[in-house]
């Protein structure tokens, strides 16, 4: 089995459209005056400077998919009917995790308690979207390597806590990805800390299929 790959510094373009969408912007409906737009852009830039994206990725074989259970080599298993359906034609998966780091969370918490809630919500949305986009980056990375094998990742990925994949699955993903090595902790209730940290799972399929 391949080792866990760690990405100490992921550099991606700021996903502006997604940040605005997350904040409720509707094209052609929402009207933002120039001064407010400039303020929001400044905050997005600030968020970007406070975020230090780190990630981890792990390619591993699927031992078996049995009903709604995806069994992995070291005894770990994920239970989800939807995920099992998604991975039905895959013999391997890629697990991935990423974090925006602590500095952005410190800034959000400081602002959110009243110092500047407007900035806090922009920082929060930017951090959520940027860390999510870093999973796209990790998928691109694996796709680069898979290209020579004539294989690629599925277009979709699944995260614990969504659909019928329980949030508790995050504990196994945390362990397999050794997320402590990139500064992530996990709580009893399976919440990742720093808050802007994410994990996901996807499958590997033949190129072009």
């Amino acid at each position: 089995m391949a080792p866990v790959l760690f990405f100490e510094s992921i550099s991606i373009p700021v996903p502006r459209k997604n940040i605005y969408r997350r904040l409720g912007f509707v094209k052609g409906v929402t009207d933002i005056p120039a001064a407010q737009q400039e303020e929001i852009e400044r905050y997005i830039g600030h968020a970007s400077s406070l975020i230090h994206l780190k990630g981890a990725g792990l390619r591993m074989p699927i031992t078996e998919i049995k009903d709604a259970r995806i069994l992995l080599p070291d005894g770990a298993e994920f239970e989800s009917r939807q995920l099992a359906r998604l991975l039905a034609n895959c013999s391997e998966i890629v697990l991935m995790g990423a974090t925006a780091g602590r500095e952005i969370m410190d800034a959000i918490e400081k602002d959110a308690t009243g110092a500047n809630v407007t900035r806090a919500i922009v920082l929060d949305a930017a951090a959520s979207e940027i860390v999510d986009a870093s999973l796209d980056w990790i998928m691109d990375y694996f796709n680069q390597s898979l290209r020579r094998e004539n294989r690629k990742l599925l277009g979709k990925r699944y995260s614990a806590g969504y659909g019928d994949l329980f949030l508790e699955t995050q504990k196994a993903m945390y362990r397999l990805l050794q997320l402590d090595r990139i500064g992530i902790e996990i709580t009893e209730s399976s919440i990742l800390i720093p808050e802007k940290s994410v994990t996901a799972i996807t499958g590997i399929k033949a190129q072009g299929s």
Binding site: L5, F6, S9, D31, Q36, Y43, I121, G208
Partner: protein, 809 residues
């Protein structure tokens, strides 16, 4: 004639043809998926020999060995450890197939790990891993090396350094760029070119990821800056599924049709990557084999780079500012941080200077009793990822410079190399090895020359020594030497003469550290700014200065216009119009009444000016209660309506709420004086439930409710159920709001409500959070609100429906 010279001679005559894809051809020859391709080739030599021969017969001048993943880490994943032997045998197979009919390139590619500071593989370990592979390839007898399909510029550097530390073989380096023109790590082709050619790559280019169309653009972008031949090895278009087989969408004819365009863009070595076959290469050879080879257009380039950007020092460039702040001299907080091994201030200084318009960052970590080598490595790692600006390595310590240059993932500028004998002897070879530019400081062991005439002599001497290591005038930036005018009234005149001579006669780039000039004088910034303008006119290329100095930066921009280095004054006009826009934003467009101004400020979320506008409205005679009830509350309600209609999005709503909050705080004392304590609209307890740490949504609800006259008791996040019940007992709230973001913590809401009911508390609950739905809230006996605006409405309804008397036990 050695092999390297032979290749260089061939490149002068024509475009060399490289082979095509190996991976897809091996699959065609029956290689199953999941095996180690390198070892499969050794076990099935006829397959790879056939492929090599087919490409040679198709017209390829250079054939890559099938050693793409034959490094310790990749082979180790299949359980193989004999790296050197595997590499050697792969070359032996190629030679057996080809004889001397084609040149054999030892193929090196990624370990699969990103190298520090971008990944977990230590730089020296990466160099060591590549050296092991290179020794095997050399033992097999390769003619040249190719480092290919690199996504990480630092890994490409490690591989190139590994080759150069072992052998002088001709070495090509090709990075893989996405269709957006960047590697996954954010490096563009010109940045990679500047870094790799200065580090000693004999040819640079791109392979894989895209088809030839995108590569024409990459080659065209690189050509004007290339001092070495350029390489392109595109895929045969993009993959798609045909039945059960993956095919690439370009047939040989279409693929070959791009050969002439690549040649016209300036390519010197051309082949194919994924999806290409011997037929593609044969067609390419026919189409472009006779196209004229465009030699590199320059022999040297005055440019530096980081991992993600480059800066070219050409004559048309505006004056560049090297940010001077990352230097602990005279900065106690920075000194202490560096001694403690912390880098927060460094990170902040880098960010600030980049935002303030610095083009490069000077980095000096010299503090008494510090481990300078360790510190400079930490700082270089941090800044390599934390800023796109190229770095200037500033140290009097030669070992510090050496350590920094080795791990810096770009082409750095050294500050500085002087005429001191030891420095010349030790630093010039280091600068040459890593391809760095350097600041030439015209001082010697015995002399700090006071006159421009003396400086000229020393400049010539140092440059003469540098030329022996291959440096050209493009690689050197002359320091004009700044003496303090308080000690020597003629100092500035001499510096101006030295700069003018260096720029106009010696034809070199120039630099000055500005602030020395005013040492010991009052109001130093005016002297520094005047000095900048004068040296700028004398031909200065770059100045080491503090970009936070707004006067200095504005004078620089005006100077750029006067010297025709800001075409059509575009940068200057843009800078001025941006400031004008900000000024206009704070000034009211039309004359309006004071109460309209307050209303407008709340609607516009103008928190900066709201207090002033409230004061004006009150001074104009508005009563505090009238201002609140007739102006402010309708304004915030209007903001809520606009949010409901999605004409406002969340930042606008919250900015309005914050303006309202500031206005209320300003009016409240006068309101009290006017009518005593106003009866509150109700007491609301808010809490993010046990196990959950997400509370930004709860904070928004708190802000909105406060603005509508509610008293908020905010218990914070990760609040145990018992703490909520204790607060209910003490405060007798009108409503309790519970928040949770995760499915695992959402269930704790039910526990709180259950405990409250069991304890006899009948207060209404409202629930919210990303995963909470109206149905879930109803199932646990709570009301629901999807956002802050709705929460205000729901709370109002809940209070109407429940009387306080029913809450008490």
């Amino acid at each position: 004639m050695d092999k390297k010279q032979k290749i260089l001679n061939l490149l002068k005559r024509r475009i060399l043809i490289l082979d095509g894809a190996t991976g897809t051809e091996l699959q065609r020859q029956g290689m199953p998926s999941g095996v180690c391709p390198e070892v499969w080739c050794l076990e099935n030599p006829a397959a790879i020999e056939d492929i090599h021969r087919a490409y040679q017969k198709a017209g390829a001048d250079i054939i890559y060995t099938c050693a793409f993943g034959a490094n310790r880490l990749k082979l180790g994943q299949y359980g193989f450890t004999n790296v050197k032997e595997i590499n050697k045998q792969l070359v032996v197979l190629a030679r057996r197939a080809l004889g001397n009919r084609a040149l054999i390139a030892g193929d090196i590619s990624s370990t699969g790990h990103f190298v520090e500071p971008f990944g977990d593989l230590m730089f020296e370990e990466a160099v060591d891993i590549f050296k092991e592979q290179i020794r095997g390839l050399l033992a097999g007898g390769v003619d040249l090396f190719v480092i290919e399909t690199m996504m990480d510029i630092q890994e490409a550097r490690a591989a190139l350094i590994a080759v150069k530390e072992i052998t002088d073989h001709f070495t090509m380096v090709t990075m893989t760029y996405e269709t957006n023109g960047y590697t996954l790590s954010g490096t563009d082709p010109v940045t990679a070119l500047i870094t790799l050619q200065s580090l000693g790559a004999d040819a640079v280019g791109c392979n894989c990821s895209t088809g030839p169309e995108a590569m024409v653009k990459f080659i065209a972008a690189m050509k004007p800056h290339a001092t070495v031949p350029l390489v392109a090895k595109p895929n045969a278009g993009m993959p798609r599924l045909s039945g059960k087989t993956t095919v690439y969408d370009m047939d040989p004819r279409e693929f070959a049709s791009w050969g002439k365009k690549l040649a016209a863009a300036g390519v010197n070595l051309i082949g194919g990557c994924c999806g290409t076959t011997p037929a593609h290469i044969a067609a390419l050879k026919r189409a472009s084999g006779r196209a004229p080879a465009l030699a590199p257009v320059r022999k040297s380039i005055s440019a530096v780079s980081s991992a993600r950007a480059f800066k070219i020092f050409d004559e048309e460039s505006p004056l560049l500012i090297i940010g001077e702040r990352i230097n602990p001299t005279g900065k106690k907080a920075l000194q202490q941080e560096l001694l403690d091994g912390k880098l927060n201030i460094v990170r902040q200084m880098a960010r600030d200077q980049e935002a303030q318009g610095a083009a490069l960052l000077d980095v000096n970590v010299g503090v008494h009793k510090i481990d300078e080598l360790d510190t400079v490595k930490k700082v270089i790692r941090l800044l390599s990822t934390g800023t796109a600006l190229p770095l200037v390595i500033d140290s009097p310590n030669m070992e510090t410079i050496k350590a920094a240059l080795r791990i810096y993932p770009g082409r750095a500028l050294i500050n500085s190399i002087s005429g001191e004998k030891q420095k010349l002897k030790k630093l010039l070879p280091v600068a040459a090895k890593y391809g760095a530019m350097f600041i030439l400081l015209p001082v010697t062991d015995n002399e700090i020359p006071e006159t421009a005439a003396r400086r000229k002599g020393i400049i010539r001497d140092i440059f003469r020594a540098a030329r022996r290591f291959g440096f050209s005038k493009d690689d050197v930036v002359v320091d004009g030497l700044v003496m303090t005018v308080a000690a020597n009234p003629g100092a500035v005149i001499e510096t101006l003469k030295a700069i003018a001579w260096s720029a106009n006669s010696f034809k070199c780039r120039t630099v000055l550290g500005l602030s020395n000039v005013s040492f010991g004088m009052p109001e130093r910034k005016w002297m520094n700014t005047a000095f900048l303008a004068m040296t700028q006119a004398a031909g200065l290329t770059m100045a080491i200065a503090n970009p936070a100095d707004r006067e200095l930066m504005k004078v620089k921009m005006a100077g750029d216009v006067f010297l025709q280095k800001d075409r059509d004054a575009l940068s200057y006009i843009r800078h001025c119009s941006e400031h004008a826009k900000t000024d206009a934003a704070v000034a009211p467009a039309v004359k309006s009444s004071p109460d309209q101004d307050v209303s407008g400020a709340i609607l516009e979320g103008n928190r900066d000016n709201i207090i002033n506008l409230v004061d004006i409205a009150l001074a104009a005679g508005m009563s505090p209660s009238g201002l609140v009830d007739d102006i402010m509350i309708p304004a915030i309600n209007r903001a809520g309506e606009l949010f409901d209609q999605r004409k406002y999005f969340l930042p606008q709503l919250i900015a309005s709420a914050e303006a309202m909050k500031a206005a209320l705080a300003r009016v409240e004392p006068r309101l009290k004086r006017e009518e005593g304590d106003r009866p509150g609209k109700g007491v609301i307890i808010l809490a993010t439930v046990k196990g959950d740490i997400h509370d930004i949504g709860k904070n928004i609800i708190s802000l909105m409710l406060k603005n509508h006259g509610y008293t908020i008791i905010d218990l914070g996040k990760d609040v145990p159920a018992k703490a909520v019940i204790d607060s209910i007992r003490r405060s007798k709230p009108d409503v309790v709001g519970l928040s949770a973001l995760m499915t695992t913590t959402m269930v704790n809401m039910e526990e709180v409500i259950g405990l409250a009911r069991a304890g006899g508390y009948s207060c209404p609950f409202i629930a919210g959070g990303a995963v909470v739905t109206k149905a879930y809230a109803a199932s646990i006996g709570a009301a629901y609100a999807k956002d802050g605006v709705e929460a205000v409405r729901v709370v109002e309804q809940l209070i109407k429906s429940f009387s306080k008397g029913r809450i008490s036990k």
